[in-house]
Symmetry: C2
DNA sequence: GTCTATAATCAGATAGAC
DNA sequence: GTCTATCTGATTATAGAC
């Protein structure tokens, strides 16, 4: 069911879609709060307010629940990339993207997965919506990175892939959580700090 | 049982200590490989080559197993900090420490814990050896950071705590694993890359 | 202290009525 | 599709013999 398709949807189907949206939203939040392993299906069902068996009518496994949340965040990322103004320079876009992911994390909306979990990896890599989205995002960012390097703004000596991975890693950087727990800075200040260390580094200039 | 105490240890006690060392070593490796949740006590016992019940004679719980591994890595960190030559400048020491933690991660010896697990946090914070070690390391690094900022090498506008957290976060940066999976670079090159992005940033200079 | 065998619990998934 | 009740397997932890 794709939101872009013109609708001839019955009331029943709308209710169904709304419920699935509620499920994915809850899963997204729980994944951000506690991570995949600590999140239980019972918890999801209770939080949504339906029985666990009903959940399994919508999604065949816990892994698929997580995958749905990842697809959602990937879609949001694609939408954000497309929303950036055409006149913005590549380097500024990259900063904007980093900012956006960090804000998402501080808002408790960045789902976090264990990179080692094999069954989860399998499910995710089997999900075309996810892999396609990831590839589009990576291609887009990769293009901007190379442009920014050609302009001499991003360090041209760094492999573009290393820059891309670094941006991805900053999206789930634990430094954000640490600084938030310290309660010494506003969310805005925290993001500014991490953006600065990410692009300008720890060294003085 | 502390290694620094002069010994009047019987042969039996030596055997016991050796076995506990083997256990902690195994736990350390498994924690680095799969993380706390995915590591099972059965697995640890099998890998060490003893029965699970025997394991529980040495360590009262899975959390205590992990804590022992964390204490070990903290001791190694303290030893490394002390080993740095006296003539080295603070900023160079910080780089050396970051290098050391990254090498540890690439070698599969950096135990990784879920930051959210509450029972684990409780056990860890109740462990004086761990908390004392963490405080000593933080104090030492914090001092170096402030000196390096006073010398104008590390950016003085950054809060020292933010710099400290950033260094801690780089010790378990997923970028290292990503780049290693790509198989395009040697471990040495990967570390150089991440050290560079950490201290000099992504931007060109 | 080490072992085998087992308890106890928890979580993912399903059966079957409505 | 939704529910209650249940199954199944995995995992932490322990009992009790030696």
């Amino acid at each position: 069911m794709n939101a872009r398709q013109p609708a001839k949807v019955s009331f029943k189907e709308q209710m169904l879609q709304a419920r699935e949206d509620a499920i994915v939203l809850t899963v997204n939040r729980l994944l951000a709060e506690k991570g995949f392993d600590a999140m239980t299906v019972d918890e999801v069902a209770a939080s949504v307010g339906i029985a666990k068996a009903s959940l399994y009518k919508h999604f065949p496994s816990k892994e698929d629940l997580a995958a749905a949340a990842m697809v959602r965040v990937m879609r949001r990322a694609q939408d954000f990339l497309r929303s950036l103004p055409a006149e913005q320079k590549p380097a500024e876009r990259l900063r904007a993207v980093a900012r956006w992911t960090m804000a998402l994390q501080l808002a408790g909306e960045m789902p976090s997965l264990p990179s080692q979990n094999s069954t989860l990896r399998t499910t995710l890599l089997a999900n075309r919506e996810y892999t396609d989205g990831l590839m589009e995002v990576s291609d887009t960012l990769g293009g901007w990175i190379e442009q920014a390097q050609a302009e001499g703004v991003i360090n041209p000596k760094l492999p573009a892939l290393a820059v891309l991975y670094t941006l991805y890693a900053r999206a789930c950087d634990p430094v954000l959580e640490f600084l938030k727990l310290g309660a010494q800075h506003t969310d805005e200040q925290i993001i500014d700090l991490v953006i600065s260390t990410c692009f300008e580094g720890l060294n003085a200039r």
